[in-house]
């Protein structure tokens, strides 16, 4: 009886815990060192202001970042940033996965892509998730 209960607990922990994963890739020949201006394209479904977290972090690092709902900014920029955030519930809502793509400012082609996935027990706050993803995509030191 006790052994079965222990198995149940172990299975439940195994199912819920998982591992935090980060993935990043860069397009062949992509040069991110020349980027100065970045436009964050607000995701239509984003009601939590994740676009503003990206803008804040980018500005802290010295980029000139803006965001908006339009597909393209009013003025030309070096890069566009698109993102997809996924949330889950475990006692409180938390950001389960964040994907971001850095795109060429003119063509819109993806030049870098990063993802952070953090299950409940390894959750980070949204600003920390944003920072983690941007660090990977823009090759910033941690």
């Amino acid at each position: 009886m006790l052994r079965i209960r222990l198995w149940l607990v172990a299975l439940a922990i195994g199912a819920l815990a998982g591992c935090a994963t980060q993935n990043v890739s860069h397009a062949p020949g992509a040069d991110l060192s020349t980027l100065k201006t970045i436009y964050v394209q607000k995701l239509a479904a984003d009601q939590r202001g994740v676009d503003l977290l990206f803008v804040k972090q980018l500005n802290e690092w010295g980029y000139k970042a803006t965001s908006g709902a339009a597909e393209k900014p009013a003025e030309p920029v070096d890069a566009l940033l698109t993102y997809q955030d996924r949330w889950a519930w475990d006692i409180t809502m938390y950001m389960l996965r964040l994907n971001a793509q850095i795109r060429d400012g003119q063509s819109g082609a993806i030049i870098a892509s990063a993802e952070s996935m953090r299950p409940s027990l390894e959750r980070l706050s949204p600003p920390e998730m944003v920072k983690e993803v941007l660090q990977a995509a823009l090759k910033k030191p941690r």
Binding site: L8, G18, T21, S25, Q101, A109, I110, S113
Partner: protein, 176 residues
């Protein structure tokens, strides 16, 4: 006691049944009509940005599997005469899998895929064609029982549509 044992068995089955399988190259390759224009040139493939599938995460598309699907599709359509595994070749087709997005759970599953293609003439290092192709596919809930299978089916369909579109555009270049 018996009830508990059933719970353990049920949980174990549910965990094991939900293991993600990678997207299959044969299902990503397109068997569409022959190319409108067939080039006599050869092309070598350079795929990056893909990811291997971990059994505990959603199905992904690996570089190797996408390259295999690309090779099969090019050979079947006749867009290029040859697709050698390694250089030399007349052209180099770069495919960067920049985005593969699917939900973490749900009934119907919408997969979005974006691939950045560059076709380079090897002799002159000239970019002949460059295009970012985005495709998506929604898998209805009754298509497969397991969520991860619906994601895999969505990945494969989005990849197939993406390759089809690429082949159509490359054929329109009317390369010699």
């Amino acid at each position: 006691m018996t009830k508990l044992a059933f719970w353990v068995a049920g949980l174990s089955c549910a965990l094991l049944a939900g293991c993600a399988a990678p997207s299959r190259p044969e299902a990503m390759a397109t068997a569409a009509a022959p190319a409108a224009h067939k080039s006599n040139a050869s092309v070598v493939l350079d795929v990056s940005g893909g990811r291997a599938t971990q059994s505990t995460y959603t199905p992904q598309i690996s570089n190797e599997d996408f390259a295999t699907a690309l090779r099969k599709s090019i050979e079947q359509s006749g867009t290029f005469a040859r697709v050698p595994a390694v250089p030399p070749a007349d052209y180099r087709l770069i495919a960067y899998l920049g985005r593969l997005d699917s939900p973490m759970m749900g009934m119907s599953v919408r997969v979005e895929l974006e691939v950045g293609y560059q076709l380079i003439e090897v002799g002159t290092s000239r970019k002949v064609w460059t295009k970012n192709i985005a495709t998506n596919y929604t898998v209805p809930s009754d298509k497969a029982y397991a969520f991860v299978d619906r994601v895999r089916i969505g990945n494969e369909a989005a990849a197939r549509m993406n390759i089809e579109q690429m082949l159509t555009e490359v054929a329109a270049l009317k390369l010699p």
